[in-house]
């Protein structure tokens, strides 16, 4: 007899102990407990990310008049700043909309593969949002540095005194600093999502492997 058939025979008899069966009064409170599913965690993380980046982008602008004046001077008065701001908000609203529809499409009653795909798609949207923000952060750093070096009289005077070597070193420090900044964020996300979705990714791969 096949091993599994032997197991099946035993299994069919019901492997659940009588005393582990729950009464309805035990089931009621369970239904209303908080879920600890990865979808819920993913949802909290993505909301936190949205808020984090919105704050990062707006707090300096609203809290410091000096920073605002600098920004306005940097962009000039030709409406570029307004354009960039509108663009940023469109991007944020688009991401919120995409995340919302993506979460709505996650259904525990789909088949296993489809469920995993919906979760991974949601995670991808969050990832694009993060990449977008990192790229924007990188660009504004480069743009900000360029502006400071060439438009700020004090700094440009200092740079004019630099020898070629010193200039190279200063640039290298800036580039490295920017790269470090992006790298730290990247590691941070790898860790968060790596831990959260490790099992899901492994199981998804296993299902995909069957199709090859």
């Amino acid at each position: 007899m096949d091993e599994l058939d032997l197991l099946k025979k035993d299994w069919q008899k019901g492997p659940v102990k009588e005393e582990s069966l729950l009464s309805s009064s035990e089931i009621y409170p369970m239904m209303h407990k908080k879920s600890s599913s990865i979808v819920k965690t993913l949802f909290y993380i993505s909301v936190a990310e949205l808020i984090f980046w919105i704050l990062v982008n707006s707090i300096p602008y609203f809290s410091s008049a000096e920073y605002r004046a600098d920004l306005e001077a940097m962009y000039g008065n030709n409406g570029i700043l307004l354009g960039v701001t509108i663009f940023t908000y469109i991007v944020i609203i688009t991401f919120i909309y995409l995340l919302y529809t993506s979460y709505k499409s996650i259904s525990v009653t789909d088949n296993a593969k489809k469920l995993m795909e919906s979760i991974l798609r949601t995670r991808k949207i969050v990832r694009y949002y993060v990449i977008y923000n990192l790229v924007m952060a990188f660009l504004s750093m480069v743009f900000g540095l360029y502006y400071t070096i060439y438009e700020n009289p004090e700094v440009s005077a200092q740079f004019a005194e630099f020898t070629d070597k010193q200039l190279m070193a200063a640039l290298a420090v800036m580039v490295l600093g920017t790269l470090m900044f992006v790298f730290v964020f990247w590691i941070f996300y790898r860790i968060i999502y790596g831990i959260l979705l490790r099992r899901l990714n492994r199981n998804y791969k296993e299902l995909k492997k069957l199709e090859v």
Partner: protein
């Protein structure tokens, strides 16, 4: 209306809870983890229940939600540290028709199944529950042919685990 829905749900779950217990049995190693997963499946079932349409059997629907929770949604909570062996918790020793060799073999088999990965366990679970390949393929989202191929591989793997 909500109370009525709740009442119907609890009644159905109480009646079919064996399915959830069996899922928990395959995917957890101790009583704490078992209870934890049971609770998460209950939450997911309840959340999905308003969309449950009577045209599917409640039990069939439970297989899907239960397995999806175990394979995909469930995050092991911190307090479910493996302290007790699986067999010491749920393995039943039947006194009637007690057969030492068969009992021993079953024990090894359950241990071997526990060494399979999540997807393999799902296949074994549905197989033990006497589901046909069409149902297995629908639940997991793979083709019927692939379900058969995978099942054969799982059987071979179990043999290797049992006879290294």
């Amino acid at each position: 209306m909500n109370k009525e829905l709740e009442h119907n749900f609890v009644e159905l779950l109480e009646k079919h809870q064996n399915i959830v217990h069996k899922v928990c049995r395959l995917y957890t190693n101790n009583q704490d983890a078992h209870n934890d997963l049971f609770q998460e499946i209950t939450i997911q079932l309840w959340k999905a229940y308003p969309k449950f349409r009577g045209d599917a059997k409640f039990s069939t629907w439970m297989y899907r939600v239960g397995l999806n929770t175990a394979i995909t949604l469930y995050r092991k909570s911190k307090r479910t540290i493996d302290t007790q062996g699986f067999e010491s918790v749920s393995f039943k020793i039947r006194s009637e028709e007690y057969d030492d060799t068969e009992e021993q073999q079953l024990k090894l088999l359950y241990q071997a199944v526990h060494q399979l990965n999540d997807i393999e366990k799902a296949l074994v679970f549905l197989y033990l529950e006497d589901k046909n390949y069409s149902e297995i393929s629908e639940t997991l989202g793979i083709s019927e042919v692939n379900a058969r191929v995978k099942m054969n591989r799982v059987k071979k793997k179990l043999k290797t685990i049992l006879n290294p």
